[in-house]
């Protein structure tokens, strides 16, 4: 395995799960698949359509999102919205994210072998 491939695997593992948090946060205002994809890409999330669309349905089946078909416009679209439970889960995940960030920051100031 080359260094690039190793790095890619680790990056993928690190990023896994961030899309869930991001989606739950963005969808506090209702949105449809493609709009969410655009928003996430612009925000700097490296997410593919073929992962995001199935993910939305999975989150819906877990009760973190609800969906509704909007037929007002020429093109009917399925709009997703974060539920109360989804919001709670998103907040918990964000809390964990912050805790990990703090822990990693602390580590970078700790020198191995020293008392602190």
């Amino acid at each position: 395995m080359t260094t690039d491939a190793t790095l890619a695997t680790h990056l993928q593992e690190l990023r896994r799960g961030t899309v869930v948090v991001a989606s739950l946060m963005v969808l506090r205002a209702p949105g449809y698949g493609y709009s969410l994809l655009e928003t996430l890409s612009e925000a700097g999330f490296d997410v593919e359509a073929n992962t995001l669309y199935p993910l939305l349905r999975r989150l819906e089946s877990q009760g973190l999102l609800v969906s509704e078909w909007n037929t007002d416009e020429a093109r009917p679209r399925k709009f997703y919205r974060t539920t109360e439970l989804g919001d709670t889960v998103a907040n918990t995940l964000r809390g964990e994210w912050k805790r990990l960030d703090g822990a990693i920051t602390d580590l970078s100031f700790t020198h191995p072998g020293s008392d602190k």
Partner: protein, 325 residues
């Protein structure tokens, strides 16, 4: 242009559970159309935009798997370990026993044909092996998908108590099973040869009044001895009793052979070119019996003594020796 999107959506839908199809159909089309529109707006020609939008979504089969949220493996990591141990056990224990048991019959056929026996053994090994592998894997795949009995199979959380014992005195269950299985097969063969395998029994029927029951009893003792060994580990009495049993079986067998009371004289021992097989077999079996008896005593005593004195023993498969204490 539409046909390309249609083909893509239909291909994906084929592998999605029916009750989700119409909803995913609408949503997927809307998403593709949105992506195409965005690409056209940024100046791509329509054909290229469609192609690129679909290319971005990737393999429709994979997309369908992702939607259906089903595992794309036969046996997952939770059950793989159990499956592997089970297969190993089947192929190292059950398969050899079945092959040997079915081959024994060949030696008692009217005309013994070594080539045919070997051929049959290979055939049996292949057939039984394929069956064992297939049915085991199929059962595990069903368990993986239905979850039935999965927790029982995993056998609870691992604790340090589950570690195998490497102390030289300890006797592994596998070792004991081997010690028990062979006497049982031997007894079954002695009893069955009287009724099946051949029209005329191979062993002298006159022995059933006393000698054969005695031999069976002695062989059964060996199986009981193995259970005793398992319970107490290697001790001096265990080794002495093993030697006594071996000598008794060897002596009785040799006596019966030497006094022509072992093989059934009524059996057709004459080959096609008029040699009496019995003249060859009797001395050969006498030599084999004595050698086997000596080997059994020596091998068991050496192994037992090493264990009893706590000498370092090899841990099979680890490349290391374990020093007790």
């Amino acid at each position: 242009m539409t046909s390309l999107v249609d083909r893509y959506v239909y291909t994906a839908l084929r592998r999605i559970p029916e009750q989700q199809r119409s909803d995913i159909d609408r949503e997927l089309r809307a998403s593709i159309d949105d992506a195409v529109d965005a690409r056209v707006e940024s100046g791509e020609p329509l054909d290229t935009a469609v192609e690129n939008a679909l290319l971005e979504l990737g393999d429709p089969d994979k997309l369908a798997d992702s939607y259906a949220d089903r595992p794309n493996f036969l046996i997952g990591p939770e059950l793989y370990g159990v499956w592997r141990r089970f297969m190993l056990m089947l192929f190292t224990t059950v398969l050899p026993i079945v092959v040997v048991a079915t081959s024994i019959g060949g030696f008692f056929a009217d005309d013994v044909n070594i080539g045919a026996i070997i051929g049959n053994a290979i055939g049996t090994a292949l057939t039984v092996g394929v069956h064992l592998a297939f049915w085991t894997t199929a059962t595990f795949a069903v368990i993986e998908r239905t979850g039935l009995g999965r927790d029982e199979l995993r056998g609870g959380p691992w604790t340090p108590k589950d570690l195998p014992k490497y102390e030289p005195r300890a006797v592994s269950l596998g070792q004991v099973v081997t010690y028990v299985v062979w006497p049982v097969i031997l007894i079954a063969a002695i009893i069955l040869q009287r009724f099946t395998f051949t029209d005329v029994p191979v062993l002298d029927p006159g022995g059933w009044s006393f000698w054969w029951p005695l031999v069976i009893a002695l062989i059964a003792l060996k199986a009981l001895w193995a259970v005793w060994l398992y319970r107490t580990g290697w001790t001096r009495p265990v080794l002495i009793v093993n030697a006594l049993i071996a000598v008794a079986v060897g002596a009785v067998t040799t006596y019966l052979l030497a006094s022509d009371n072992f093989f059934n004289p009524a059996f057709d021992w004459i080959t096609d070119n008029n040699t009496d097989l019995l003249d060859w077999i009797t001395p050969a079996v006498i030599v084999a019996t004595i050698a086997g008896t000596l080997w059994d005593i020596l091998e068991t005593t050496i192994r037992g003594e090493r264990a009893r004195r706590g000498l370092p023993t090899k841990v099979p498969g680890s490349g290391n020796t374990y020093k007790f204490g």
